[in-house]
C-alpha cells in the first residue's frame, strides 16, 4: 500500500523509468520511444501490478492558451471547461485547464484559465494504455512546465514575474511563471556544448522568449526587470554567472545544481540525470493538483487514495480515542494513587488506635459493647427503685398520726401518663416530669381509716385527712390525689345521715396517692 512511486520521464528521444525512494531517485529502466520500448515497458509492468506511477512529459509540442470563461463553480464550470478544451484540442485525453484567477469586467466576473495540452498526444497514449492494462495506479500525467511553479517556490523565487530555466535531458526548458502560476513554457533542443557556450545559449534564448512574451502581451513592454532563475548544470555555476550578467530588462540568478537538489530535498540522483531530476522528485513527492490525466485514467489511484483515506480516518479515530483514553487512564492512576494514600492513612490511624487501645484495661468484650452494656444498665437502674424508702417515709408520718390505720399500701413504678389516665385522678403532680427519658415515677397509694373521731364530724375528719396527706409531702414525694371519706368536691355526691340513732361504728375510709420522680 505504501510502495515507492515510479515516474516515467517521457521525452522525444527516449523514456526513463525512475523509482523514488525517500530522498533518492533511482533509474530503474530506459525505453526507446518505438514499439520495442512499449513492449519492454509492458514486460516490466507485469511484475509491478498495483504499483503507483506518475508520468512526466518533457516535450516540445506543448500548447498554452490564455482564455476567459464566466465565473462558475462545480459541474457548470466543469462543463464549460470541457467544452473549451474540446473546441481547442482535437484529443482531450491529455488536456488541462489551469485557473489563473478572476477578472472583473464591466458586464460580469470572469475567470482566467490557461488551456494546455500536447500537440501530439498519440505518442503518450500507448504508454498510458500499457499502464491501464497492467492495473497500475496512475497518480497523474504531468509536464515539466506544470511542475515549474513548485520548483520555483522550492528555489525561493517569489517574484511576481519570473523565468525558470533548466537544462534538462530533453533540452533547455524555459518556464514563465506569473504570480506563482504557469503562463508559458518552451523547450529548445540542445547539443553538447561547453559551459560558456551553453550559458550564452541560455542568455540568447531567454532574450528571445522575453521578446516573444512581450509580443504576446504576457509581459509589459516597459516595466520592471524580469527575474530569471537559472539552474546551472553541475560544476558550471561560475561560467553561467560570468555569462549571465543582469541588465535593465533581465536579472539573472544562477542556482548551483547541488543547491537546487538540496532545496528540493533530493539527496541522490542517478548518474546522467540532469535538471529534470528536480521536477521528477517533485512529481513523486509533492505533486501539484494540476495535471493532464483524465478522471478515468486515475480511477485506480483515486480508489487507492480512498482506501488510504478510510484507513487513515480509522487510525485518526483510534488515535483520538487512544489519546482521550490515555488521558483518562492517567486520571485513573492518579485517583487510584489518591485512594491508596487515603487507605494508607486510614490503616495507619486504625493501627495507632489498636496500639493505644491495647494499653486500655483488659475487657472481655468490645469497647462498643462495654459502653453500651453499662450505659443501658445504668439507664435501667435509674428507673428502678426499692420500696424500702417509701415504707420508711410512710412509717415516719404514721407515727405522728396514731388515729390513722392503713389497710393497704400499694407501691409501684409508673409513668405520669398512666397516673393521669387513672379515672380517679384528682390532679397531676405539680411538676410532672416531661415525657421521654426520665419519666418514671414511684407511686404510693395508701388506703386506711380514721379512728378516734366521730363519724359525723365531717369537718374534723376532712381536716385530719388533709393534714395527714400534707404531712406525707416531702422527701421527694408529691401529693397526687386524696380521696376523702366525704366527697366535698362539686363533681362528687355528698351524702349525710343526720339525726338517726343507728351508728355502723365503721371508721371513715380515705385514700392518699403520692408520687416521687425517679432521677
Amino acid at each position: 500500500m505504501f510502495a515507492a512511486p515510479r515516474i516515467l520521464y517521457f521525452t522525444a528521444e527516449g523514456h526513463y523509468l525512475y523509482r523514488s525512494a525517500g530522498r533518492a531517485l533511482e533509474l530503474e529502466a530506459q525505453y526507446s520511444g518505438d514499439e520495442a520500448g512499449i513492449s519492454a515497458f509492458r514486460d516490466y509492468l507485469r511484475g509491478q501490478r498495483g504499483a503507483l506511477f506518475a508520468v512526466v512529459a518533457d516535450l516540445a509540442g506543448e500548447d498554452f492558451h490564455d482564455e476567459q470563461i464566466p465565473y462558475l463553480r462545480g459541474a457548470d464550470r466543469e462543463a464549460v471547461l470541457s467544452r473549451r478544451l474540446a473546441q481547442r484540442y482535437r484529443d482531450t485525453r491529455l488536456a488541462a485547464a489551469l485557473s489563473l484567477g478572476t477578472v472583473d469586467t464591466a458586464e460580469r466576473k470572469n475567470e482566467r484559465v490557461l488551456l494546455t495540452s500536447f500537440t501530439n498526444t498519440q505518442q503518450l497514449a500507448p504508454w498510458l494504455d500499457a499502464l491501464e492494462e497492467s492495473g497500475a495506479k496512475l497518480s497523474g500525467v504531468y509536464s515539466i512546465p506544470l511542475l515549474a511553479p513548485a520548483l520555483a517556490k522550492r528555489l525561493a523565487a517569489r517574484e511576481p514575474r519570473l523565468l525558470l530555466v533548466t537544462a534538462n535531458r530533453a533540452g533547455l526548458r524555459q518556464c514563465y511563471v506569473e504570480n506563482g502560476k504557469l503562463r508559458f513554457a518552451r523547450l529548445e533542443r540542445t547539443v553538447d556544448m561547453v559551459p560558456q557556450a551553453l550559458a550564452m545559449f541560455v542568455r540568447s534564448e531567454t532574450q528571445r522568449l522575453v521578446q516573444y512574451l512581450v509580443t504576446l502581451r504576457a509581459l509589459p513592454r516597459e516595466g520592471t526587470a524580469v527575474q530569471v532563475v537559472v539552474v546551472a548544470p553541475p560544476g558550471q555555476k561560475a561560467a553561467f554567472e560570468q555569462a549571465l550578467a543582469s541588465d535593465a530588462r533581465l536579472v539573472f540568478r544562477v542556482v548551483d545544481y547541488a543547491d537546487a537538489l538540496s532545496s528540493a530535498k533530493l539527496s541522490r540522483v542517478p548518474e546522467g540525470a540532469a535538471a529534470e531530476a528536480l521536477f521528477l522528485h517533485l512529481a513523486a513527492r509533492h505533486a501539484p493538483s494540476e495535471q493532464f490525466a483524465s478522471r478515468e485514467d486515475r480511477r485506480r489511484y483515486f480508489i487507492w487514495q480512498l482506501q488510504r483515506g478510510i484507513v487513515a480516518a480509522g487510525v485518526g479515530v483510534f488515535a483520538v480515542c487512544a489519546l482521550f483514553g490515555g488521558y483518562r487512564w492517567l486520571q485513573v492512576l492518579s485517583v487510584r494513587s489518591d485512594a491508596a494514600e487515603q487507605m494508607q492513612q486510614a490503616n495507619a490511624a486504625a493501627a495507632q488506635y489498636a496500639r493505644i487501645t491495647s494499653t486500655f484495661p483488659v475487657t472481655d468484650t468490645t469497647t462498643e459493647n462495654l459502653k453500651a452494656t453499662v450505659v443501658e444498665f445504668r439507664r435501667i437502674a435509674e428507673r428502678t427503685a426499692n420500696p424500702d424508702q417509701a415504707f420508711r417515709h410512710v412509717s415516719r408520718v404514721l407515727e405522728r398520726y396514731p388515729q390513722f390505720d392503713l389497710d393497704s399500701l400499694r407501691w409501684s413504678i409508673g409513668k405520669p401518663a398512666e397516673l393521669r389516665a387513672s379515672p380517679t385522678a384528682a390532679k397531676p403532680p405539680a411538676q410532672a416530669p416531661a415525657e421521654g427519658g426520665a419519666d418514671a415515677l414511684v407511686v404510693v397509694e395508701l388506703s386506711g381509716r380514721v379512728n378516734a373521731t366521730q363519724r359525723n364530724d365531717y369537718r374534723g375528719i376532712t381536716a385530719q385527712v388533709q393534714n395527714f396527706a400534707s404531712a406525707l409531702i416531702g422527701g421527694g414525694y408529691e401529693l397526687v390525689r386524696t380521696q376523702l371519706p366525704f366527697d366535698i368536691t362539686s363533681e362528687g355526691v355528698l351524702t349525710g345521715d343526720i339525726g338517726t340513732s343507728a351508728d355502723t361504728g365503721e371508721a371513715p375510709r380515705f385514700t392518699v396517692t403520692l408520687s416521687r420522680r425517679l432521677p
Binding site: V315, A339, F360, T373, D388, L409
Partner: protein, 202 residues
Amino acid sequence: MTFTREELRRLALPLIIALVLSAAGGSLVWSAGQALDSAYRALTAAQAERRQNNERLARIAEEEREVREKIDVYQRLKALNILGEERRLEWADAITRIRTQRELLDMRYMVERQRLLNTIPGKPANVDFYASTMKVDLQLLHEEDLLRFLDDLRQSGNAFYAVKKCAITRTGQTVGGATMAPRLRADCDIDLITIIDRAAKK
C-alpha cells in the same frame, strides 16, 4: 460517483479496518471511563474510612476514660451473673434459701416467659437486655419481712431485680394462738433482668 462491484470489494477491507480501529478506540475510552468510575468509588470509600478512623482516634482519650470508668461496672455485672444466660434454677434455689433463712411463712412465686426489653436506639446489635417478670405472693408477719426478702434477693445475684410493684394488705387475721398467723400479705411483680453480650469472651 458510482463504484463498481470490484471497487467496492477493494474498499471493504479498509472499511473493516477503520471500523475495527474505531471500535477499539471506543472500547478504550469506555474501559477507561469504567475504570475511572471504579477508582472514584474506591477513593470515596477510602476517604470515608480514613475520616472515620481519624475521628475515632481523636476520641480515644475520651474513650479510654469511658472504658476505665465503665469496666468496673461491667466486671461487677459479670461477677453477679447479670451478664449471661438466665439461671432459673439458681433463682429458685435463692428464693428457697431466703425463705428458710428468714423463716418466712407461705410464699408462692411464678416466673413468666422471658422477653426482650426495648433499649436505646443506636445500641450495638449484639448486646440485648432481657427481663422475666416474677410474681411473688408472700404471707408476712411484719412488713420488714418483705423488705428483707427483697434485700436478700438482690444480694443473691444471678439477675438484676427491678421491683415493678408491691401491694401490702392486711389479712384480717388476729395474732394469737399456738401458730403464727400472717397479719399481712404482699403481692409483688419483680423484673429479673439479664444481659446477653454476644461479643463477650466466654
